[in-house]
């Protein structure tokens, strides 16, 4: 679970701290982006500009990197991101039914966030937990061997 999202110039300060922490490291861009995503729940343009300046690279390169990766978001996300694996080992074990139930319970489609800001629902490619397919991740936690009637119980664990 990420930290409570700071606001306004608190964002700028947090990003500055992260930049400081990784300054001078070879290949600092990815660790910086990971930390910003973890701290804020997304990577605002403001953060990208600051990182670009600190690393002396074009802002476009930072943006192009952020948009490449599944785990980085350019928009605010819910408190918890639910990632439903749709790769073959989970598909074969009933992932579609799990996703359908999540859509039903949350009232959102993949890519959307619930109106209370609690959950963002996403598809993901294989998360390497195929021994207990179908599996999902809620934040950092993995839930597996899922059937639709277990979904309510899983969601209830997250306030």
């Amino acid at each position: 679970m990420k930290e409570a999202a700071p606001a306004g110039c608190a964002i700028a300060d947090r990003v500055d701290q992260i930049i400081q922490k990784h300054a001078g490291r070879p290949g600092a861009l990815m660790p910086m982006l990971h930390d910003v995503q973890a701290a804020l729940g997304w990577i605002p343009e403001e953060a990208m500009d600051k990182i670009a300046e600190a690393l002396d690279i074009p802002a476009g390169k930072v943006y192009s990197t952020v948009t490449f990766y599944t785990l980085f978001s350019t928009r605010p996300t819910g408190k918890y991101i639910i990632r439903v694996c749709e790769s073959a080992p989970c598909h074969v074990e009933g992932a579609a039914a799990v996703m359908a139930e999540l859509e039903r319970q949350l009232g959102v489609k993949p890519g959307e966030t619930t109106s209370d800001g609690r959950f963002t629902l996403e598809y993901t490619s294989c998360i390497g937990i195929c021994g207990v397919a179908p599996a999902i991740m809620v934040g950092d936690q993995v839930h597996g061997n899922l059937k639709p009637d277990m979904i309510a119980g899983v969601l209830a664990q997250y306030e």
Partner: protein, 546 residues
Amino acid sequence: MEFVRAHVLVCHGTNCSLKGPAAIVRAFGDQLREHGLEGEVRVVETGCFGLCEQGPTVVIYPEGTLYTRVKPEDVAEIVTSHLLKGRPVERLMYREPVPQQPVQAFPEAQHFRKQTRVVLRNCGVIDPDSIEEYIARGGYAQLGKALTQMKPEEVVAVVRDSGLRGRGGAGFPTGLKWGFAAKAKGDTKYVVCNADEGEPGTFKDRLILEGDPHAVLEAMAICGYAIGSHMGYIYIRGEYTQSIERLGHAIEAARNIGLLGSNILGTGFDFDVEIRMGAGAYVCGEETALFESLEGGRGEPRLKPPYPTDAGLFGQPTVINNVETLANIPPILEHGAEWYRGLGTAKTPGTKVFTLCGDVVNRGLIEVPMGMTLREVLYDIGGGIPGGRTFKLAQTGGTSGGCIVDAQLDVPMDYDNLAAVGTALGSGALLIMDDTHCIVDIAKSFAKFFLHESCGKCAPCREGTKRLYDIVDGFSKGTGKMEDFALLERLARVMYKAPFCALGQTAPLPVMTTLQHFREEYEAHVRDKTCPAGVCSALVSDKKGA
């Protein structure tokens, strides 16, 4: 030193962690205290035993009793009946799938008897957070031997003579790779562990790192010594939270006692390791895309040559090896190249860690010598197909591998034999599918994966994966035409050759092999607009409406 009369090993691999082994460990703690046994029985949190679908698993020594699907509520009975009275709890014991007999000691279970656990030697045996236990089982002794008794070229020679081939999927001879890097010019060289494990159906690297992280660290240091590198990076996918944590602890523990860092074992050899996280991109498992990502940017592959051993990470000579490849290094140094060649097949010595998923009873992790057939793995170790259903097809090597049917189940599995029947050993993922599935629906999920994961750099893959998906999607929706089959074959021919990297080049393989084996089922979707398996919703409801 404290002697205990019994050990309780509780699996903490991620698959078992889903059902809260922490609660089981706590329950054991409470119950042992209540019965005054805490001085006599030790509870250990270990890595993966391999019976992932039947977790949480607990093994009690000295008997080796294997309990599966253990709940915290069961612990009281295990303590009073098994630990106090010496009567194992039969209802919790692992049962052979056929016949349904409880197994008294886990090494006797067919599932384990047929395995040769080299890479997994410590998984499910030691506490992975304990460097002392790793050392007690011979850990870091091979690093010590290499640094104090062997020359770098001798280390390379042992690895080369062992015949070890890369276990990430490509099967390139590891010793050859190390030799190239050792000879490359340059003062700064790198060792990279590829722990990006994105191939669907594959979860071995995750569990090797969770169960025995020090094995990989020791191997990286040995590689560093062999090629002249002082810095290693482990690029691990960002989703692998537990593995990342375990590795972090392991690196710190190794540094604290001087097995990583400066002047290792007082030999003057420096080697350190840093963890770098991926951020959700399958293509970053491709070695040059991984370098691009680590250096800071989109994970788009580079042109080869130059190969990583000449110009890799940060443009420097680099050895990049898969987790499983590295985990083989300490045993090879310990027992020798000839011992390793005695396992497996002539062209692919050693063992392979396979991950069984899909419609198979014992879903999870196993390790067997190269050359075992899929029939033997599926039925003798995997326990066969659940629910008495019939085997339809298996995909080997992950989503980028091909599909085989019953007639090919007797192929001895290694890189060359599986390639000869049109599929791949790949990462060792084995996806088993029974007769309830629709082949078009499955092919669609294969195609969707590549569509999503294409990095976009080259047109044949960026456009080709989209068209591949669209055609198969059309089949599933009843909008396909018979001419699409010729189009599909032409598209596949182009994609096998034109894309910039292996992602695009293998994308058509799973679809085309299903077409090869199940042509009639595909044609039913197109010509007759029916889905014989009753899965494709557009075709099933059409029929119902008619």
